[in-house]
Amino acid sequence: MVIYGVALLAGCMLAGLIIGDVLGQLLGIDANLGGVGIAMLLLIFLTGYLKDRGKLPEATESGINFWNAMYIPIVVAMAASQNVAAAFSGGLVAILAGTLAVVLGLALVPVLTGKKVDDAAPLDARPQSQPPTGR
C-alpha cells in the first residue's frame, strides 16, 4: 500500500530528527544536528534492506517516489515564501557579506573536489539506477 511508503519515509524523518535533537543537546547547542541527513541515511539503509528481501513492492515505493517528485515544486514554493525583501533592505554590509561567502564557497568546490576520478565522474556518463525524478 502507498501509505506504507509514506509511513516509512515519515518514520525515518522522525527518527532522524530525534537523533539530531539528542546530538544537539549532547553538544549543548539549541539546534538539530544533522537530523535530516541522518534520516536520509536511515531511509537508504532501510529501503536497501527491504529491497534485498523483496519486501518493497511497487505501491510502497510509489509512496516515497511521490514526495521525491514533489521536491522541486516544494522548493519553488519555498523560494516564493523567502524573505527576499529583508535581504535587500539589509544594506550593503549584508549584501557584501552574503555575496562574498557564496563566491568563496563556490570557488573552493573544485579545489576540494580535486582531479576527475571515477567517483567524480558526471552522473550522465553512467547508467542510471533510477529514473530522473520531478523534471
Binding site: A31, G37, M40, I44, I64, P73, I74, A85
Partner: protein
C-alpha cells in the same frame, strides 16, 4: 462574491498553493523551452520567478514570508515550509548509492568545517571593512554569513544588539538567495555534475534552502548528496560561531 472566493481560497490554502505552483512550473518550463532553448533549466526559472514574487509579496505586505503573506497565497508557507521541504529532501535519498556517499564522505566533512570557516571569515572581513570593531558585532555579522539561523542564534548568545542581529539575518538571506540563482549559472565552471562535488558543495555553502534550490535548478539527481552534508552545516555553525570562532575574533580585536 469576490469576498467569498477569497475566503474559500484562503480556507483551502494548501490546495491553492499546489495549483499556483503547478501553474508557475508550467510557465517556467515553457519559458525554458521556448525562450532559452533549454539552456536555462525550467526549475531554475521557476525558482527565480518564485523569488521575484516573494520580493513583490514582501514589499506589498511588509511581512516576512514573501508571497505567502498575501492572503490568496498563504498556502505557500505550508507547502514550502520546513516540514514538507525536509520530507521531500529525505525522499530524494531513495535510490542514492551508498558507495558514493562513503567515497566522498571524508571530503564532505572537510568541506563542512572549511565552509563554516570561510563564510565566517568572509562575513567578518566585510564587517570590519565597514567599521565594526566590537568583537560581538563582528562575530554576529560573520555568523550571519554562515546561515541566517546561525547569525541570530549567535547574536542572542553573545548579547548583540537587535540591529546587528537583523543585519546578520539579512546577510544569511542574501547568501541563501544568491546561492539559488548562482548555482545553476556557475555549475559548469565548478564541476558540479557528480555526487562528490555535490557533497562538497553542500558542505561549502551549507545554507539548506540555498543548497536545496540551487541543486534542484542544476540537476535534481545531485540533491540528496548536497543536502546530506548541508544538513549538518547550521548545527556546526551554531556550535562553532559563539564559541571557538568568537574567541578567535576576540583575540584579534
Amino acid at each position: 462574491m469576490n469576498d467569498s472566493i477569497v475566503s474559500l481560497v484562503d480556507k483551502y490554502h494548501l490546495i491553492a498553493a499546489f495549483a499556483v505552483i503547478g501553474l508557475a512550473m508550467y510557465v517556467a518550463y515553457w519559458m525554458s523551452r521556448n525562450l532559452t532553448g533549454g539552456r536555462l533549466h525550467g526549475s531554475a526559472i521557476a525558482i527565480i520567478i518564485g523569488l521575484a514574487l516573494a520580493y513583490v509579496g514582501g514589499i506589498t505586505t511588509g511581512g516576512s514570508h514573501g508571497l505567502a503573506d498575501v492572503t490568496l497565497f498563504s498556502g505557500l508557507a505550508l507547502m514550502g515550509g520546513g516540514m514538507l521541504r525536509d520530507l521531500a529532501i529525505i525522499a530524494t535519498a531513495y535510490g542514492v548509492r551508498l558507495q558514493e556517499v562513503k567515497k566522498a564522505g571524508f571530503r564532505g566533512v572537510i568541506a563542512l568545517f572549511l565552509g563554516v570557516l570561510v563564510s565566517f571569515v568572509a562575513g567578518a572581513v566585510v564587517a570590519v571593512g565597514f567599521g565594526y570593531s566590537d568583537p560581538v558585532d563582528i562575530t554576529t555579522i560573520a555568523a550571519g554569513a554562515v546561515t541566517y539561523i546561525v547569525g541570530p542564534v549567535t547574536g542572542a548568545t553573545l548579547g548583540a544588539s537587535s540591529e546587528v542581529i537583523a543585519l546578520s539575518i539579512a546577510a544569511g538571506l542574501v547568501k541563501s538567495i544568491l546561492t539559488m540563482i548562482a548555482t545553476p549559472l556557475t555549475a559548469k565552471w565548478i564541476g558540479l555534475d557528480n555526487p562528490r562535488s555535490a557533497m562538497i558543495f553542500g558542505g561549502m555553502i551549507g545554507t539548506t534552502s540555498g543548497v536545496a534550490a540551487g541543486l534542484a535548478a542544476t540537476d535534481a539527481r545531485l540533491v540528496p548528496y548536497g543536502a546530506m552534508t548541508a544538513t549538518f552545516y547550521t548545527g556546526l555553525g551554531i556550535l562553532l560561531a559563539p564559541t571557538l570562532l568568537f574567541l578567535g575574533v576576540r583575540a584579534i580585536f
